[in-house]
């Protein structure tokens, strides 16, 4: 008899199999919803105000130097015949531009996120693997070999199209130019500089020899091993500007960090006064209606200036508060009378 019972088909009578597990059944009652909306709303308003105020403290100075307009100082550089062109953009600050000041260059209508452009690099090459120097991966095509079939290092469209305008900033004090020191260290991601990218090992003690048998990207004026001859730690694939460029921008309108102003007299920021920015104008953008600009900005805990987020929080927060009031009315009108019936 016992055995029979055990062999029984009888289902297990457990809370799980009988679907009777203790359960929390949230019911949207007025007592929860109205305070809920109110709390969320107030919290959002608080965050919104904080964000908005923080954003207001951030100073931003943007200057377009593409030279489309005729009166632009760089207009003359836009003609294709002008190979090496320098132009000067002047601006004045009425108050102290609090430091540390971040110096960005910005491009618009530039699709670094174009898919075929994005895949066009050889990560193995960039880790310093000289094997890939000889034969770059196919993805770099057609920026893998030059017309004489020499391998290009670094290969690919991204590297090839590297931004190559350079800037010098001067403060004009009493008619004399005082160079503002620009700090190019640590502007790229720490992981890119220290882990992801690697230079090839020097051959016979010469860094340049490691690149033997390769050619520089067609658009580049200098080879990779000549990017910064002054600082071996900023040369080759570990060149900060190169690293910044290689981290593709998400959107067609972007800016990339060029330098920081952290040194000398300018450690606390750019004092009020007149400044002159010398632009070594190389990078063509007019072919795609692009714009180039420089941006000076300081940062806060929330990064760069961003009014949107603060405003959005304020809007949503007030919406929630309004909603809770509406709910209150709705409940007063319908629900409570309903409860009286019951």
């Amino acid at each position: 008899m016992k055995n029979e019972e055990e062999a029984s088909e009888r289902p297990d009578n457990t809370a799980f199999t009988q679907q009777q597990l203790p359960a929390w059944q949230p019911v949207l009652s007025a007592g929860i919803i109205i305070p809920g909306f109110l709390i969320i709303g107030l919290a959002f308003l608080g965050i919104g105000i904080a964000l908005f105020l923080t954003s207001q403290t951030i100073q931003v100075l943007e200057m377009d130097y593409t030279g489309v307009e005729k009166d632009s100082p760089c207009f003359r550089c836009t003609s294709p015949s002008n190979q090496t062109c320098t132009c000067e953009v002047t601006f004045s600050l009425s108050t102290l531009f609090t430091g540390p000041v971040f110096f960005y260059y910005g491009l618009s209508n530039y699709f670094q996120n174009f898919r075929k452009y994005g895949v066009s690099k050889d990560d193995y090459q960039l880790t310093g693997d000289t094997q890939y120097f000889k034969s770059p991966r196919d993805v770099c095509f057609p920026y893998a070999h030059d017309s004489k079939n020499n391998p290009i290092v670094p290969c690919g469209a991204i590297a090839s199209s590297m931004f190559n305008d350079t800037f010098e900033l001067y403060q004009i004090i009493n008619g004399t130019k005082k160079k503002v020191p620009l700090d190019g260290k640590g502007i790229s991601w720490w992981t890119d500089y220290n882990i992801k990218y690697r230079n090839p090992l020097p051959v016979n003690g010469s860094f340049a020899s490691a690149f033997d048998g390769t050619v520089k990207p067609i658009n580049w004026p200098k080879a990779a091993y000549e990017l910064d001859l002054t600082d071996p730690n900023n040369n080759g694939f570990l060149n900060q500007d190169f690293l910044v460029w290689m981290r593709r921008a998400a959107l067609p309108q972007f800016r990339k960090l060029y330098r920081r102003i952290t040194e000398g007299d300018y450690a606390t920021g750019l004092p009020a006064g007149n400044y002159s920015l010398t632009v070594y104008y190389n990078y063509p953008v007019l072919s795609f209606d692009g714009r180039k600009k420089v941006v000076f900005s300081n940062v806060s805990w929330m990064g760069g200036k961003n009014d949107f987020l603060g405003i959005a929080y304020l809007v949503v927060g007030s919406l929630c508060v309004v909603m809770s009031v509406v709910m209150l009315i709705v409940y007063a009108k319908f629900k409570f009378s309903d409860d009286d019936d019951a």
């Binding site: 009888r10 059944q25 709910m327």
Partner: protein, 1291 residues
């Protein structure tokens, strides 16, 4: 009848093709060829007995499984995309990456298939290696071999309780009568024994079988799957032929019972055996939701097409917009720039690859998983477990669980479905005199009411003490005392009930049902006839009852060692099983007490000790005392031992009616004590044994609706045919009663008229009626007929027709003996169930083969019809009359329904939750012949319209084919979801025709269950199965499907919006791996759990408010609008999830994947929390899976972006997640976006809950109340529905 595997059809077709000139199979003995090589064997073309149900072999598993899997559309889609991705001009990812999803899905499915196949392989191996005995000529004896060694033409011996290895033509048994018993429960679940006869002339009774002398040829049909049909003949070398039928075939998989050994020649082996051909496996139906879903998938395809088109056009226009080619546009391999139109064209395909998730292919896999889970929970429901049969609900169809929640029409069989199909003899009419068996009725009434022991006790003490001779017995035995004894008995009863393990009084009452208390008046008549003439209509009547059946006797202990775990469906088996237990509890002493008592009373003819009843104490003795029975114990015991030693015997009846009749005959002393193929022995009330020689049996079939047995009377040597059958089947074949007006027949005519009157009365009382008739056949007549019959039997072509013809020929000119009324009691809770189904908005139809009167009566008692209902009865043979009446009725109905002003259909829906209609409740009763007219082309529309108005429809006297035709008609014309429930072979058609077929495993075997999608044990389970599980499954699956669409669209659109900012170049800002993981791991478990475990309203509330079911009926959980709302919501959410980060980060120095990471995270939060809004009850499992999914996302993403330095170019996940998570902006964006994305949906839920709460929401609110308060509210709710109809319901 039974579902045929297409493969089988194919195989049959092939075989036919292979042997075009050979419609039959010829088999000769293998023995003379034993030493020959295989290709010289005569039976070489037949398959061996080894079976192989596994599809794959080890070496061919991968290619074959892949081949199988590529039959699925979804997989082809995947593969197509993967291939597309290998085309360089259109690829979106690295080619390998696109292979990941398809590989994972294929691998998962392959593992599942492989495991299942391995299990099948193991079972096959086990079966193939089962030992069996095959005759070997070399050793001149049966030697042990394996099942797989059995070949067609071998001689195989099967011992008692062994399983038969192949289909064997029975040539020899150890039984002196040449029969062999077989239990077919492995095949069809029927535990009653089936008797098989040897083909005569190939073995000598009592001697060992000598197969090597067998030199004949067996000719039989080609293999087919009909378990009840088999025909052929054995041709001897001298061309003499002996016919045989299914009753000589031992079927593979069955078990030999009661027979020491049986032997025969193998005719079908392996996959060609009838059992294997019947083995069709689980059935696949496509559910309504899935059909709907597939069209929505098509919408997704259209949507995808448009999105890709936008992408393609956008790309082309974007390319055109440049004055010259910018530096970031990469030329093609030739250094040329692709023309923008061509690029746009390529981009179209690239977009398809990028946005492929739009088509929710994972939905199909998820649905399969969800349904597995749903089925698990349905079968686990302890409320649907039947204690008595030890059975759960079975889900045989694996993928239509949610259809249970959408049923609109229920078609039910009556007998065995609504009723117990446990027949109780109630009344009889003999020679025009009605014997109402009042005492028996009173006794049954007591049993019915005896749910409480107290009641029994009270009854025993106060009313009708003579009916409960227990007391009388105790009076005699222990003197005049005591109520105490009665109490003891009651206690015994209770204990016995507990022992039987039954919660109801069913098991307890079943032994009581077999016992009939004879009618005193009738008893006297029988006595008188017995005493005087030894013949007469009364004796004939009871002889007919005892003889005219196919009931078998079996000894209990010999073979009935069934484990309780197996079902004991057979009427007698079940009841005796319980009885034995009862007996053990009550102790033997009592029986001997009663035996002494019988002796003392010693008056007449009763035989309470025959075979089975010796165990029942109280109730058994009731008939004895009542019958003032006389009894000779010693003679009785002698008979008993002579029959079966000291073993108990039981009747094995195929139909419960037969069992009821044979027990009734026994109550009057006519006990069938032995049945062999050639003899039936009946013990008469005076103890004499009458051994009838059985000359022929014309078995029951649904066309003739009668059965006959032709016997030779042992004393008079007359050839007598006893026939029983439906009253119409007998009455119209009485010998010229109604035509010949001569004096001789006037008496007979009067009898017939009176009997007919009684029959009508029985039917009105809801009894099942059977007529009994007799015919004396002269010797020549019989001989002539017999020759014809033999010829028909050995015919191969048109055998059925010819048999029918011969049967009809002999079955005529009957003399009417009488009629019986058998009660078939309603199952428990049938009226409640029907009412609940009704309240849930289902139309209930009952289709039965019974007479209209019987059916109407049952319909009233099970609340299908109410007394205030307007009932139309259609029963006519004239089409014109019928047509007129239908039109009249329809006109009337239209007027009455149109007058309130609203369109009835619309009203029907809008009032679904506010109140029922004030329409008069209309019932329709229609009989079979009228029904066939109604379904003729010109009337069908009107009939269907009429049916739409009816609350209940009752179809009487319908054939199985008509049943299915009705179901099909309603299903097609009204486009409704239909459910058919039935228990017998006659319901199989209907069950298969309906959207959902439910089999009740009852008294009539398993054919209905085999054909069904779900199998239950009691009709009342339907209520829970539909209202609770159906409802749950429906809303779970509907919500899950909607959610899945939403989820995929919401996620894919993120990518789509990004295309507007990357020149439509199919760039993804999310790492491909994370994208794939997102669907596969991060967001797949919650919806699956949701689909399995969501519980919006508890089962108790669903049962108390069946109205809630209507949501599923009207498909409110999943309609086109729900789908589009979900899609719109998905668009909105994806816009929010994209543009809030976009505006936050636009113009900044953010990198492409750093931009995608917050979006991915935000999507995850949105998608998970969206589900959280939908989840109505949170159990531990919910919490674990929801929180787990988020954790898994963060862990995997962090781990991935820490490990993947440059593992997956061009994407660059390295350290991005870490950097983002160190930035407060990331969190600010996540919080804002999630809240904004979910705010509308949440607000909508809140507002809807407050302003217009759905019935479900209200029901949910009820659940929070205290039980008493809740009941009051439920009553109010219902009351509201019943009263507030008169003001316009649509307001």
């Amino acid at each position: 009848m039974t579902w045929t595997n297409p493969l089988t059809l194919l195989r049959q077709g092939w075989t036919r093709h292979w042997n075009p000139e050979r419609p039959v199979r010829t088999v000769v003995s293998n023995l003379p060829f034993e030493d020959l090589k295989k290709r010289e064997q005569p039976n070489r073309q037949y398959e061996g007995n080894a079976i192989k149900t596994n599809k794959y072999r080890l070496w061919s598993f991968i290619p074959m499984n892949l081949f199988e899997q590529f039959h699925r559309m979804a997989n082809i889609y995947f593969v197509g995309l993967a291939i597309l991705n290998f085309v360089p001009v259109v690829n979106a990812f690295q080619p390998e990456v696109a292979l990941i999803p398809i590989c994972i899905i294929l691998a998962l499915t392959a593992v599942k298939d492989g495991w299942e196949d391995f299990r099948r392989y193991q079972t096959d191996q086990q079966l193939n290696n089962t030992p069996c005995f095959i005759f070997s000529r070399k050793q001149m004896c049966f030697v042990e071999r394996r099942w797989k060694d059995v070949r067609v033409g071998d001689f195989v011996r099967v011992l008692s309780n062994e399983i038969i290895p192949a289909d064997i033509l029975l040539l020899h048994t150890s039984d002196p009568n040449g029969v062999c018993h077989m239990e077919t429960s492995n095949l069809d679940g029927e535990t009653s024994l089936k008797q098989r006869k040897v083909v005569p002339g190939f073995s000598t009774l009592g001697e060992p079988f000598q197969p090597h002398t067998f030199d004949s040829t067996v000719v039989c049909e080609n293999p087919n799957n009909n378990l009840n049909l088999f025909k052929g003949y054995v041709e001897r070398p001298d061309k003499r032929r002996t016919g045989f039928g299914i009753d000589s075939l031992l079927l593979r998989g069955c078990m030999v019972r009661n027979t020491d050994d049986a032997a025969g020649i193998v005719v079908y082996t392996g996959h060609e055996t009838k059992s294997m051909l019947n083995n069709s496996g689980p059935r696949y139906k496509r559910s309504k939701i899935e059909r709907k879903m597939n069209t929505d998938v098509l919408f997704c395809v259209v949507l995808l097409f448009f999105m890709c088109l936008i992408g393609a056009l956008g790309h082309a226009i974007w390319l055109e917009s440049f004055p010259s080619i910018p530096s970031y546009i990469v030329p093609d391999s030739n250094g040329n720039y692709t023309p923008s139109v061509l690029s746009g064209f390529y981009m179209f395909f690239t977009m398809i690859i990028l946005l492929q998730v739009m088509i929710p292919v994972s939905l199909y896999v998820s649905i399969e998983l969800v349904k597995m889970g749903q089925i698990f929970f349905i079968t686990q429901d302890v409320e649907l477990y039947d204690e008595e049969l030890d059975r759960r609900v079975q889900c045989r169809a694996l993928n239509i669980t949610e259809d249970l929640g959408q049923i609109q029409y229920v078609f039910s069989d009556k007998t065995g479905t609504l009723t117990e199909n446990k027949m109780v003899f109630r009344r009889c009419s003999i020679m025009g005199t009605e014997y109402c068996h009042e005492e028996n009725a009173a006794r049954l009434a007591v049993i019915n009411g005896a749910n409480e022991e107290e009641e029994v006790t009270i009854y025993q003490q106060t009313k009708l003490p003579s009916l409960f001779p227990l007391e009388e017995l105790q009076d005699i035995h222990t003197g005049d005392e005591n109520q105490a004894n009665a109490q003891v008995t009651a206690a015994n009863q209770r204990r016995s009930r507990e022992a039987a393990g039954a919660q109801s009084d069913m098991a307890f009452s079943s032994p009581l049902e077999t016992v009939v208390v004879p009618d005193r008046k009738l008893m006297l008549e029988v006595d008188r006839e017995m005493a005087s003439i030894q013949t007469g209509p009364y004796l004939d009547f009871f002889l007919a009852l005892a003889v005219c059946n196919t009931v078998l006797l079996s000894s209990v202990t010999a073979q009935r060692q069934r484990v309780k775990g197996r079902r004991s469906s057979s009427y007698s088996g079940g009841s005796f099983h319980n009885m034995r237990q009862w007996f053990r509890k009550c102790g033997l002493g009592k029986v001997f007490t009663s035996m002494r008592f019988f002796k003392r009373r010693g008056e007449t003819l009763r035989d309470p000790f025959s075979i089975d009843e010796d165990e029942s104490d109280g109730f058994h003795s009731s008939d004895v005392s009542d019958a003032t029975g006389q009894k000779d114990i010693s003679s009785e015991r002698k008979v008993k031992s002579g029959l079966s030693g000291s073993e108990e015997m039981c009747y094995e009846a195929h139909s419960p009616d037969e069992a009821a009749l044979i027990h009734a005959a026994k109550a009057y002393g006519f006990t069938m004590v032995e049945r062999t193929p050639h003899y039936v022995t009946v013990k008469l009330p005076d103890g004499a044994l009458l051994k009838f020689e059985v000359l022929d049996i014309l078995t029951f079939d649904s066309t003739r609706r009668r059965m006959s047995i032709i016997v030779r009377h042992p004393h008079t040597k007359e050839i007598i045919m006893y026939t029983k059958g439906a009253d119409s089947a007998i009455m119209e074949r009485l010998g010229n009663v109604f035509t010949d007006m001569s004096q001789v027949y006037s008496e007979a005519k009067q009898t017939a008229v009176k009997t007919q009157r009684d029959l009508d009365m029985y039917a009105r009382n809801g009894l099942r009626t059977l007529c009994f008739a007799k015919k004396v056949i002269s010797e020549q007549e019989f001989r002539a007929w017999s020759a014809l019959r033999q010829e028909a039997l050995s015919a191969i072509d048109e055998k059925e027709e010819r048999l029918m013809e011969t049967a009809n020929f002999i079955e005529s000119s009957f003399t009417l003996l009488g009629a019986t009324g058998i009660e078939d009691r309603l199952q428990e809770s049938v009226p409640e169930t029907i009412q609940a189904l009704r309240r849930a908005g289902m139309q209930v139809w009952v289709l039965t083969g019974d007479k209209p009167e019987t059916a109407i009566n049952i319909a009233y008692s099970c609340k299908l019809l109410e007394h205030e209902d307007l009932v139309f009865t259609f029963s006519t043979n004239r089409k014109s009359v019928f047509k007129m009446r239908v039109e009249d009725t329809l006109g009337e109905l239209r007027r009455s329904t149109l007058s309130p002003g609203a369109d009835p259909q619309f009203r029907g829906y809008s009032s679904a939750f506010t109140g029922p209609l004030m329409e008069p409740s209309i019932g329709l009763v229609i009989d079979g012949s009228t029904l066939s007219m109604a379904m003729s082309d010109e009337l069908v529309e009107q009939f269907v319209e009429l049916c739409k108005h009816c609350r209940a429809v009752l179809c009487c006297r319908v054939t199985p084919l008509q049943k299915s035709a009705v179901v099909k008609l309603i299903r097609q014309k009204l486009r409704v979801m239909t459910l058919a429930v039935g228990d017998g072979a006659n319901d199989v058609n209907m069950i298969q025709a309906a959207d959902v077929g439910i089999g009740v495993s009852g008294q009539e075997g398993m054919q209905a269950v085999m054909a069904s999608d779900f199998a239950i044990t009691r009709f009342k389970h339907l209520q829970r199965l539909l209202l609770v599980h159906g409802h749950w499954c429906y809303s779970r699956l509907a919500n899950m499907v909607i959610y899945f669409f939403y989820k995929n669209v919401a996620y894919v659109n993120l990518l789509f919006w990004y295309q507007f900012f990357c020149g439509f170049s199919a760039t993804a800002m999310i790492d491909y791996w994370l994208m794939i993981f997102f669907n596969l791991f991060f967001t797949s478990a919650p919806p699956i759990m949701f689909g399995i475990m969501e519980k919006e309203v508890s089962d108790s509330t669903l049962l108390s408010l069946p109205e809630l079911y209507k949501r599923g009926q009207h498909s409110e959980g999943y309609r086109r609008s729900t789908f589009w709302i979900a899609i719109l919501d998905a668009f909105y959410q994806s816009l929010v999830c994209f543009f809030i980060p976009y505006w936050t980060y636009n113009g900044s120095d953010i990198g492409i994947f750093a931009f995608g990471t917050p979006m991915n995270t935000v999507s995850l939060f949105t998608i998970i929390l969206h589900l959280a809004i939908e989840i109505k009850s949170w159990t531990v499992v919910h919490w674990v899976i929801m929180i787990g999914s988020v954790l898994v996302y963060f862990i995997v993403t962090l781990a991935y972006s820490a490990i993947c330095i440059s593992c997956n170019p061009p994407s660059d996940p390295y350290w991005i997640m870490h950097k983002q998570m160190a930035d407060p902006m990331f969190y600010l964006v996540c919080i804002l976006t999630t809240v904004v994305a979910l705010l509308p949906r949440y607000t909508l839920h809140v507002l809807r809950g407050t302003l217009a709460p759905s019935p479900h929401l209200r029901a949910r609110q009820l659940e929070r109340l205290s039980p008493s308060h809740r009941e009051q509210r439920i009553r109010e709710w219902r009351g509201l529905r019943d009263t507030c109809i008169s003001p316009s319901p649509s307001a």
